[in-house]
């Protein structure tokens, strides 16, 4: 391998470090004007009057649009029937809901005009809790009631198994809403013309194109969506980009001027999807030797006002609630509900962090009850190749969980850990930097394992189209409909094309996503870019390679299979010195008529499962991981210092070690934020902390010393054996933090985040100290 597995720079990095990269807010067009929306301000009610008179009198205001000005159905969403209006027509269902759009000559005037709009909303008693939503006499937030989706997974006979179980642990675990917190707030810029062009900070351009076209009342072919450089997304820039993208295009259509809508930070938190808050009742049964025999889980997800991705998150939690373990008897019910709060949708991890926290907490609780080593119980029950998982799916290869456990065990031994499960360690460890503070600090070690499905799986058909084009000079252009969001996918695709075609990485470019020019590749979600996306690039590159080999065969007067492409040359396998430069071969291929461009498809096998029990084949692969974390807790202040953190993941095959480490580092800190720092605070249905002063995004001072350990158990469905890695560390990192804190403090916390205040409170409670 000349490129795969090598540490390489981001192929699109130079523009980012020089300020030349164009993000959506950096586009400028003659006559461009700015939009800003008026939000409901109350969590539930009926709009009876929108008084726009004062706003319209402000100098520079061009137009105020309300629901009646939307040419199309005024609906967006993920799964039909769509339920979310661009501008509320009648009922408002969350405080951040858009009601009117002001277009003005400047962004500042547009915002001032928004303040001048007076809304009369007849209040409706808001439903602000899941219990409230599920009460038998609850008001219906949507026509079909307050349940978005409720599904079951049934494997074996869970009741009988619980009767036979020798040890049972039970608990209820809760997690909070989390904001994506990407540094670039959502931004779009629409340019009218014979066709519409939308430059967007977004994650899934084809999804946006469909909704923009429908709401404009034009065919999809009349809309071109160009993904601008996107300043992070993590699942967040889909619904909201669809909303403001449609609004910007409609305004551009009506005014015949380019329109930019750029959210302020506050709007990014109030008016765009969050991670689902969850309440998980979970019960696990085991035999005295530690063998898991039964698990029942009841998951409730607070999905807020609109469906968004709730149905898919529901299914993901359902499928992942048993964790990466062999449990013969499992029953899970997962239900997402509507409430009058900001809608929830996709967020890196997609429900897996919530259920993994509950699941891994219970594994530790069981180990404690059984007086068993915490890694041993995971090793004993861990999934292996050839053994059925919770949905009954069997993988013959690439189930590297046990190796991640072994690597963590080795690493832990090197770290000099305390006796597993002790939970008592007030003695400073040998490596403790402050022996003088004896007694002030509590020390603990946590472990957590995770499995996370790769590909859309139960969420739908999974197809990616990618094109690879070689020019006569031997340089390569890759086109794919999946998006670079900072995760390094472009670099991975470029490496794959470079490896297959035997050309230098520097000669490969990956074009930006323009819906006119690349094939619809589905959404950039589910850790599928490397696996499903990479496979499409691999196939397209392989077709181009065949042309080059055929041409080189004619030139060498031999069969194509006697030739390989490497180091920029077509080389005779039997005589390394017989080589023709690839540009020469490409030029000859062009003039001879061998195609130098190919559009290939990678289609994951369709998920095939029973809808009533969710037994069957779901994902093309899983990423497996085990984390270990050492913490020090200050019993006076509750301050937590993460002393070490190891994250072992089975990624099939590492394509770019630097990119992989970046994904594991970033996802781990995001999980740490979920577990320790980040909390959306509601009061009466209104978010109280929609800014970075009050919503604690981890800063550099909060960083954790993550060490990536790559396990490579090749995945037959991925390019060169690779599997996705972007999401799984979030779940493992959040769960390992909770387990490390439980070990240190001696108290099992059942709610995330576990804040400093929570720790001080627990220690005051006489549980410790």
């Amino acid at each position: 391998m000349s490129t795969i597995g090598k540490q390489v720079r981001k192929v699109d990095g130079v523009e980012l470090v020089t300020g030349r990269a164009k993000f959506a807010g950096d586009y400028r067009f003659p006559g461009m004007v700015y939009g800003s929306v008026k939000r409901a301000g109350v969590p539930a009610g009926r709009v009876s009057e929108i008084d726009i008179e004062k706003a319209q009198q402000i100098h520079g205001v061009l137009r105020v649009l309300t629901a009646k000005d939307i040419p199309g159905p005024n609906l967006i969403g993920v799964l039909p029937p769509f339920d979310q209006p661009l501008l509320a027509a009648d009922e408002v269902r969350y405080a951040g809901e858009s009601v009117a759009l002001v277009i003005a000559e400047t962004a500042e005037v547009a915002r001032r005009a928004v303040e001048a709009i007076s809304l009369t909303i007849e209040p409706i008693e808001p439903i602000l809790t899941m219990d409230g939503a599920l009460a038998p006499d609850a008001r219906k937030i949507h026509e079909n009631g307050n349940i978005t989706l409720s599904k079951k997974l049934i494997k074996g006979d869970v009741e009988a198994a619980f009767r036979e179980a020798e040890v049972i642990v039970e608990g209820t675990y809760e997690t909070s809403f989390q904001d994506h917190g990407y540094l670039e707030p959502e931004t779009v810029c629409a340019v009218p013309g014979r066709r519409f062009t939308l430059y967007a900070s977004c994650q899934s351009p084809f999804h946006i194109r469909g909704h923009v076209a429908a709401n404009l009342g034009v065919p999809a072919s009349s809309v071109k969506v160009v993904q601008a450089c996107t300043g992070g997304s993590f699942g967040g820039k889909d619904d909201v980009a669809t909303e403001i993208g449609s609004l910007a295009c409609i305004a551009a259509q009506q005014l015949n001027r380019p329109v930019m809508i750029a959210h302020e930070r506050k709007e990014s938190i109030l008016g765009s999807n969050l991670r689902h808050a969850a309440r998980i009742e979970i019960k696990t049964g085991a035999m005295k030797d530690g063998t898991l025999v039964a698990r029942s889980v009841r998951i409730l997800l607070d999905g807020g006002a609109y469906a968004s991705e709730s149905p898919f998150v529901t299914m993901k939690t359902l499928i992942h609630a048993a964790g990466p373990y062999v449990i013969e008897n499992v029953e899970v019910q997962s239900t997402s509900v509507f409430t009058n709060k900001t809608y929830c949708g996709a967020f890196r991890g997609f429900g897996v962090p919530q259920v993994t926290f509950a699941s891994e907490s219970q594994i530790d609780e069981l180990a404690k009850k059984l007086k068993m080593d915490r890694l041993e119980i995971r090793r004993l029950n861990g999934l292996k190749a050839g053994v059925a998982n919770a949905t009954g799916q069997i993988y013959e290869q690439s189930v590297g969980l046990l190796e991640t456990i072994e690597r963590i065990a080795e690493r832990g031994a090197a770290q000099g850990t305390t006796a597993p499960g002790s939970g008592q360690t007030t003695e400073p460890r040998p490596e403790s930097p402050e022996p003088a503070d004896r007694g002030r600090y509590l020390y603990g070690t946590g472990y957590a394992s995770v499995a996370q499905g790769i590909s859309n799986g139960a969420e739908g058909v999974d197809v990616t189209g990618a094109s690879v084009q070689m020019s006569q000079d031997g340089s390569v252009l890759v086109g794919i409909g999946l998006t670079e969001l900072g995760q390094g996918s472009r670099t991975v695709w470029a490496q794959i094309a470079s490896e297959v075609l035997g050309v230098a990485l520097e000669t490969v470019s990956v074009r930006l996503v323009d819906t006119d020019a690349v094939h619809d590749s589905g959404p950039t979600v589910a850790s599928r870019s490397t696996t499903v996306g990479g496979m499409a690039v691999y196939k397209a590159a392989t077709e181009v390679k065949q042309s080059l080999l055929s041409m080189a065969g004619l030139m060498f007067e031999t069969e194509p299979e006697n030739i390989e492409l490497r180091d920029g040359f077509a080389i005779l396998k039997m005589d390394d010195s017989a080589r023709i430069p690839i540009p020469t071969v490409a030029t000859a291929a062009y003039w001879t008529g061998f195609p130098l461009m190919n559009l290939a498809f990678s289609k994951a096998p369709d998920a095939n499962f029973d809808d009533a029990t969710h037994q069957g084949d779901i994902y093309i692969a899983y990423n497996y991981g085990t984390h270990r974390m050492d913490v020090r807790v200050d019993r006076m202040t509750g301050e937590v210092t993460v002393l070490s953190h190891q994250a072992a993941h089975d990624v099939g095959r590492v394509i770019n070690p630097l990119g992989l480490e970046g994904q594991v580092d970033g996802a781990s800190l995001m999980g740490f934020g979920l577990a320790h720092m980040e909390k959306i605070r509601y009061a009466d249905g209104i978010i109280q902390n929609p800014n970075f002063a009050d919503y604690a995004l981890p800063s550099i001072k909060d960083r954790i010393p993550t060490e990536t350990i790559a396990v490579e158990d090749p995945n037959p469905t991925g390019p060169f054996g690779a599997k996705g890695a972007g999401e799984p560390p979030v779940a493992a990192s959040a769960a390992v933090f909770a387990n490390a804190i439980a070990d240190a403090v001696g108290v099992r916390f059942t709610k995330l985040p576990i804040t400093r205040e929570d720790i001080v409170e627990a220690l005051k409670g006489g549980n410790r100290g």
Binding site: G13, T18, F23, G25, L658, F692, S699, R703, I704
Partner: protein
Amino acid sequence: MRIQFTCNGKRVQLDAEPDARVIDLLREELGLTGTKEGCGRGECGACTILLDGKPVNACLLLAGKIIDREIQTIEGVAGADGGLHPIQEAFLDTGAVQCGFCTPGMILSTKALLEENARPEIAEIEEALSGNLCRCTGYGKIVDGVQEASRRMSAGDTGTNGEVAA
């Protein structure tokens, strides 16, 4: 009112209200869109620029405060020939850049740090960058990037733009 200042080594004159935000002058009047707005409240550091060599949030800085002073933005960090500064090279080599939206601010905060303290301790790096949020990297590789830049600049590496390193 007419204001004058130096931006990336060039004298600039323009008409601005004294209370106009400098980020808007840079982005809208001068077309320097490398300076990013992440929060508008001085909480994220994405709009960090250097004012007389010190990092400041351009979203909180008003036009009246920059008269006759020297501003550097990300566009002024690389050489005129397009060659990268050692900090830019180091950030790319260490994987300190993911989405890139925080990167201009991170690089300018780093530049201010290294010009004052050529070989900072990790705690000093963390202090200097504590006003710059990043949601992608988890910060570890940013610290690596700063350390790598510090090593290269101390060793006399001038990057590829010929600028004499601090």
